[in-house]
């Protein structure tokens, strides 16, 4: 019985929904839905067109890429561009010395533009230590040479000769390396 009453009551609601649908459909039929849909699809497809390649890459990745590109460019320039010639250096120096602000500065401080910088105490100590090491190694080599080469040339065998030659080559290499290292440190 209750169920029947509910069904009857719900019929009223169904009628109301039907009325709503009819009214809405009446207006919907008046609109040109297909034309609206066509323009809507076209506008949406324009919006969703794939963006250019670069805009799809995240910004941090782009920044890192740009940084590495810059580094590469600098490395290339360093490698292929010749170092400035003496004339160029002199031209820059003369230009800087003629510049009004810099001229007064150099006069005040008593510096000439091309004056080389004095090495610091730390650099000097390194240089001294290297020089000492070189002297020591040279002395040791001389001592060994004296030991290897016998005083009596009659007792000297070819095997001894090769041994001494091998030692000499090794020590010469060490000496060469140390001298080059010293030169470089002086340059620095």
């Amino acid at each position: 019985m209750k169920r029947k009453v509910n069904e009857e009551k719900f019929d009223e609601i169904e009628k109301l929904i039907l009325k709503e649908k009819e009214e809405a459909l009446h207006v919907f039929r008046k609109t040109d839905f297909s034309a609206h849909l066509k323009t809507y699809i076209e506008s949406e497809s324009k919006k969703n067109l794939s963006p250019p390649f670069l805009s799809r890459i995240p910004v941090p990745t782009l920044a890192i890429l740009a940084f590495f590109l810059f580094l590469g460019l600098v490395a290339l320039l360093n490698r292929f561009l010749p170092p400035p010639s003496l004339n160029e250096i002199k031209a820059i120096e003369s230009f800087l010395s003629e510049a009004p602000g810099l001229q007064s500065l150099t006069k005040k401080e008593g510096l000439t533009p091309a004056q080389p910088m004095k090495p610091s105490a730390f650099e000097l100590s390194i240089q001294n230590a290297l020089a000492l090491a070189q002297k020591k190694s040279v002395r040791e080599i001389q001592q060994k040479e004296e030991k290897v080469i016998p005083s009596n040339p009659k007792n000297f065998s070819p095997q001894d000769f090769y041994k001494s030659l091998e030692i000499l080559i090794k020590e010469k290499k060490l000496e060469l390396f140390l001298s080059q290292f010293l030169k470089k440190s002086e340059e620095v």
């Binding site: 509910n6 009551k9 719900f10 609601i13 169904e14 109301l16 929904i17 009325k19 709503e20 649908k21 009214e23 809405a24 459909l25 009446h26 207006v27 919907f28 039929r29 008046k30 609109t31 839905f33 297909s34 609206h36 849909l37 809507y40 699809i41 949406e44 497809s45 969703n48 067109l49």
Partner: protein, 182 residues
Amino acid sequence: MKDSVRTEEELKIFEELLTYKENIFRICLGFSKNPHDAEDLTQDVYLKAYQNIGTLRNPFQSKEWLLRIARNTCLDHKKRKLFSRESSRSRFDNEMADSYEQNDPEASASLAEQLQNIKKAVSRLPKKQKEVFVLREYGNLSYKEIAHTLEIKEGTVMSRLSRARQAVLEWMNEGKNEKKSK
């Protein structure tokens, strides 16, 4: 757009899908608050169908496929609360109001109020009951079609619909009683 180039066959299927536009509009009307939103939703449904038509495996089940898109689109919009576009009375709303006011103004006001109450009651329904209710009462679908669309049994459709109707009826009565007490 996943693939802007559509084959002839796909376009033909889409043309066929457009014949269901009134069904889809009615379903969207059931899920939305007003006909204007329902029209926007119908356009969204067809846009999604156009974009994904390549994924339709069986063209003979295109109606069920479209109904599924409609149901998902409406529920998705509901989640994002895009149903608050009631501020400006659109062309659609004006025409609806005019059609009500052509009759007795008092009767039309009462009708509008009753419709508003139904909308409120439907929006209060749980999701599963609501979709069955809308597909049946607004979309005029059979139990079988609803079962296919929602991929549930017909018995489940019937029980959910019965519970939904009962709930709507109770809320409508509650609304009437509150009005009387005021």
